[in-house]
């Protein structure tokens, strides 16, 4: 461009015509060269065209303990799919970013994945605050997010498929199980952010209205991320639980704060037979590298445990250990959620014949893939799965023994029946409703992006 400019400039000065001729020849040569190179680059780009799969999980910070293994899971699934011939004739390419447990950074990285890297789908997020941070980005840019973690519900976005448990697939059955064991006093302990706050709201309402627990038999308590001084709280739990009525702790503590919490429980001698703790965000991954013998008998509620007895689970674990080249690694529920989400996405893309978000979304409803506990997972029109509920007790080797499970799958309910406002709302992204939060009394669709 500059050369042309200079040429025109020179023209005005009526330079020697032979010089001009020479310049012109050089310019043409350069042009031809650029044209041919651009052509080849674009052709090779077409040939190396891949389908990009974004991975948005914290690889550092307080949530790294939980999220790093999910990044590895997606990488394994992408490699497996590529070995099976790719998708729509193209290879899959994983694009990994590290939002570092920093919620605003999650939104930035999501935008980067969608606009700069131009990924066709994103598997990511763990904490609800990270999901809430990226939600506006996905809705504005019409991206597609598969969210693999159990959460508090009260959401159904057009651009998100929730492959983790809603409260009616984890929290409520866990409370029912404990109540059946004779628990009369409840401690709700959580990290201070949206997921524990909302889940505890739902549980408080459930305990008071359905199980008729009185206010003084419920103790609610919040701590910051990464909290490490649990002395007072564990001592208070001990006091609360020693008054004669059977007490249990429902824990929505997230991230590495769980490690000193369980250590303190062990140190102060709180045994699972006396005051059982059921956790919703603690699985095999959070317990690995930890001596769990003082924790034997404490519980977790999930839709999958590594100890689930099924052939498909055995194969999955074998493949995983081979991929990660470390015999000490474990599998857990959010990993299964990514497996289900990924398989469903692949099936939907094949059904739709394209990776275009709107077409894939339409193709997702009703898609059924096997889950890892021997049953089938179905994607419903509210963007939630049908999943079985399992309650497991911690063993001395960091694994869980399944002590209770539902017979079949439970359909995920995005809007809980136990909060008065939410009980009147349904989510259904197919006609005629086509809305994530549709009020069945007023017939109005409101809140999040709709249409």
């Amino acid at each position: 461009m500059y050369l042309i400019g200079i040429l025109i400039f020179l023209n005005n000065y009526k330079l020697v015509s032979s010089f001009k001729l020479l310049m012109r020849k050089i310019m043409y040569k350069i042009f031809k060269f650029l044209l041919i190179t651009t052509f080849f680059i674009s052709v090779s780009n077409l040939k190396a065209d891949t389908i990009k799969v974004g991975v948005l999980h914290s690889l550092s910070g307080t949530m790294a303990i939980s999220e790093t293994t999910l990044k590895d899971t997606v990488l394994m699934l992408v490699e497996k799919q590529n070995k099976a011939g790719g998708l729509l004739g193209k290879k899959l390419e994983a694009v990994v970013v590290d939002p570092a447990s920093d919620w605003p950074l999650f939104a930035e990285k999501a935008k980067e994945l969608l606009t700069v890297q131009k990924v066709d789908v994103v598997f990511g997020c763990w904490t609800s605050v990270s999901r809430k941070s990226v939600l506006p980005v996905f809705e504005e840019l019409n991206g597609l997010l598969f969210y693999p973690v159990q959460y508090e519900g009260e959401e159904s976005s057009k651009n998100v498929f929730y492959t983790g448990a809603a409260p009616n697939q984890q929290a409520i059955p866990a409370v029912d199980y404990l109540a059946a064991q004779g628990v009369k006093k409840w401690v709700l302990a959580g990290t201070d952010y949206v997921y524990p706050r909302t889940t505890n709201k739902i549980l408080e309402s459930y305990l008071k209205n359905v199980l008729n627990v009185s206010e003084k038999d419920i103790m609610i308590n919040y701590t910051p991320f990464g909290h490490s001084d649990w002395q007072t709280i564990v001592s208070d739990i001990k006091k609360f639980g020693m008054a004669g009525k059977k007490t249990a702790v429902v824990s929505t503590i997230n991230g590495d704060a769980n490690v000193p919490f369980y250590k303190e429980l062990g140190n102060q001698g709180i045994k699972a037979e006396d005051i059982p703790v059921v956790a919703f965000s603690v699985g095999e991954e959070e317990l690995s590298g930890f001596d769990t013998s003082p924790l034997v008998g404490h519980l977790a509620a999930w839709n999958y445990f590594m100890s689930a007895e099924s052939e498909i689970n055995d194969t999955f674990i074998e493949d995983w250990l081979k991929f990660i080249k470390d015999d000490k690694r474990v599998t857990n529920d959010p990993m299964e959620a990514h497996v289900i989400g990924f398989d469903m996405w692949v099936k939907a893309v094949e059904k739709a014949g394209t990776t275009d978000v709107d077409s894939v979304r339409e193709a997702m409803y009703g898609i059924t893939v096997p889950n890892l506990t021997g049953g089938m997972a179905v994607m419903n029109t509210n963007h939630h799965l049908t999943k079985p509920v399992l309650i497991g007790e911690i063993q001395a080797d960091g694994q869980f023994d399944i002590v209770w499970s539902t017979d079949g799958g439970v359909i995920g309910d995005a809007w809980t029946d136990y909060l008065p406002e939410s009980s009147r709302i349904v989510a259904d992204w197919t006609s005629p409703i086509k809305c994530g939060n549709y009020n069945i009394d007023t017939g109005k669709c409101s809140g999040q992006n709709y249409e």
Partner: protein
């Protein structure tokens, strides 16, 4: 002899048949089988119950033989239950574990305790009797009396009498009950307190007994309340000791050298990682590795401190803002270096035996690790004071703090003292890291959790004054723990910060400030 063997074989066969009944999914059925095992006339029943409780009892699918399994590194080492023959490593698929749940655990502990009050050794007997105190009845009383006839150990006798009195207090003749209740008054054992409460609320008994029980119950409650106050103070002291450990190093560098070291938290983190590395090198002996880690962390972190001082801080003396920025940059670099060398995930540091569990003082139960850390902190503090007051280096440090120009005129190489002081402060931060590795997660972000607290303590206590730091740390720790039961962890932290902000308005130099003309420099 032969007759005995045959008798044994028969007993074993019937025990085996009972154990095989545990192969069911119904947990209620399992309860009945457990009770059967507890009652069979076979000495191995105790072993059976214990193995089920520990999750070690398995059934081999092929021949229905009963096995004891030890799991090491995910390999299943099997032994025959009845004759202990070693069967080597078996495949997980060939075995069926006898599973239990929390309810069963309770029942198993109970049954084991009942058997162990007659059969166990001293600790087992005491543990057993405490376990079944709340369920004691006339049957248990008979057993207790039988054991007491032949028991010689005074501790065992004491606990058995306690259990005896508990049973008499509930079920005995009215005349005996008052004596029994009187003997239980003031006891803080949770089960006994609940029993006293239950008796005091019983309407269908003579007035005398109810009153006696109420008095006994109130005495116990008073003792428990007193214990709780001591406990809160203990928590406050332990939090204070953590704050102090983290802050001493900063008090030294800030106080003497006048450098705002934003990388202080990372120096603590490096000390914690030193502990991890030492544990990797000496994996089998956690006690030795922790003790060795202390001087190693001191030297290594001190060395890192020297590097920081020589390369960066030396050039920025007298320019506090630049030092702040530069050391902040160093903290980021250190974090990333650790992330790159070790991985961003947390590392597990193991605690030695003597640091886990509880110590009981009277009726009070305090956690071991916190107790040891309080003592450790005091030792470290005394060491630092000793270095300051009794060594030549300390003398020179104090001189430079009080009046740099005069100290220089007296022949002290102030630049060298600055470097050594910085190194000393960093080394102490490293020692703090070793202690902190025992109570919190060891990860690249460890430093970030303690840097704010360290500055808080140093500013509150008074810059340059170590006793100020001591009082400040323990004061803030106690304050935090006194408020926490009422408002929760987050709000109590906020209150403490607000308190410090307001305090600083009135006393900008902190609690104990250095007096003298040079303090204004």
């Amino acid at each position: 002899m032969g007759f005995f063997l045959i008798g044994n074989l028969h007993a074993n066969k019937s025990l085996k048949e009972i154990i095989l009944k545990l192969d069911t999914k119904d947990f209620k059925d399992k309860i009945l089988v457990i009770e059967e095992i507890a009652e069979t006339d076979n000495d191995l029943n105790l072993l059976a119950l214990k193995s089920i409780l520990e999750g070690k009892l398995y059934i081999r699918k092929s021949d229905k033989s009963i096995l004891l399994v030890d799991i090491k590194d995910r390999k299943y080492f099997a032994f025959d239950f009845f004759d202990n023959t070693e069967l080597g490593v078996l495949s997980k698929r060939k075995l069926k574990k006898i599973k239990i749940n929390n309810n069963l655990r309770n029942i198993l502990s109970n049954k084991i305790a009942v058997i162990q009050i007659t059969r166990g050794n001293k600790e087992e007997k005491i543990k057993a009797i405490l376990e079944i105190i709340k369920d004691g009845n006339f049957e248990t009383l008979k057993v207790i009396n039988t054991v007491l006839l032949t028991e010689n150990d005074s501790d065992v006798i004491k606990y058995f009498n306690l259990a005896k009195n508990t049973i008499i207090a509930r079920y005995g003749k009215d005349s005996e009950r008052i004596e029994a209740i009187k003997s239980l008054a003031g006891n803080t054992n949770n089960d006994i307190v609940n029993i006293l409460k239950a008796i005091s609320e019983n309407k269908s008994q003579p007035e005398v007994i109810t009153l006696e029980a109420q008095e006994a119950y109130y005495k116990s409650i008073k003792n428990i309340k007193f214990n709780n106050i001591i406990k809160t103070i203990f928590f406050g002291l332990s939090l204070g000791s953590v704050l102090l450990l983290a802050a001493i190093g900063l008090a030294i560098t800030f106080g003497v050298v006048g450098v705002i070291n934003m990388a202080h938290g990372e120096l603590i983190m490096i000390g914690a990682y030193c502990t991890y590395v030492v544990q990797q090198i000496i994996p089998n002996n956690t006690s030795l590795s922790i003790i060795l880690a202390i001087p190693i962390a001191f030297l290594f972190t001190g060395f890192v401190g020297i590097i920081i001082e020589r390369l960066v801080v030396k050039n920025l003396y007298g320019r506090p803002l630049e030092t702040l920025l530069a050391t902040f940059g160093i903290s980021l670099i250190l974090q990333q270096v650790v992330r790159s060398i070790f991985s961003p995930l947390n590392k597990t540091v193991y605690s030695p035996e003597w640091m886990s569990g509880i110590i009981s003082i009277g009726g009070l139960e305090l956690t071991n690790n916190r107790f040891i850390i309080i003592i450790f902190t005091i030792l470290v503090f005394m060491l630092v004071i000793y270095v300051l007051k009794k060594t030549l280096f300390g003398l020179q440090m104090r001189a430079v703090t009080q009046n740099r120009k005069m100290a220089s005129a007296m022949g002290i190489n102030t630049k060298k003292i600055d470097m050594l002081t910085f190194a000393f402060g960093s080394g102490v931060a490293g020692i703090a890291g070793v202690a902190l590795s025992q109570i919190t997660n060891v990860g690249p972000n460890l430093g970030q959790n303690y840097i704010i607290d360290s500055f808080m303590v140093v500013v509150f206590g008074g810059v340059g004054n170590l006793f100020g730091t001591l009082i400040g740390a323990f004061g803030l720790g106690l304050g935090n723990k006194l408020i926490e039961p009422y408002v929760g962890a987050i709000v109590s932290k906020i209150f403490i910060l607000l308190f410090i902000i307001i305090f600083i308005q009135f006393r900008p130099k902190g609690l104990f400030s250095i007096k003298g003309r040079t303090a204004d420099d």
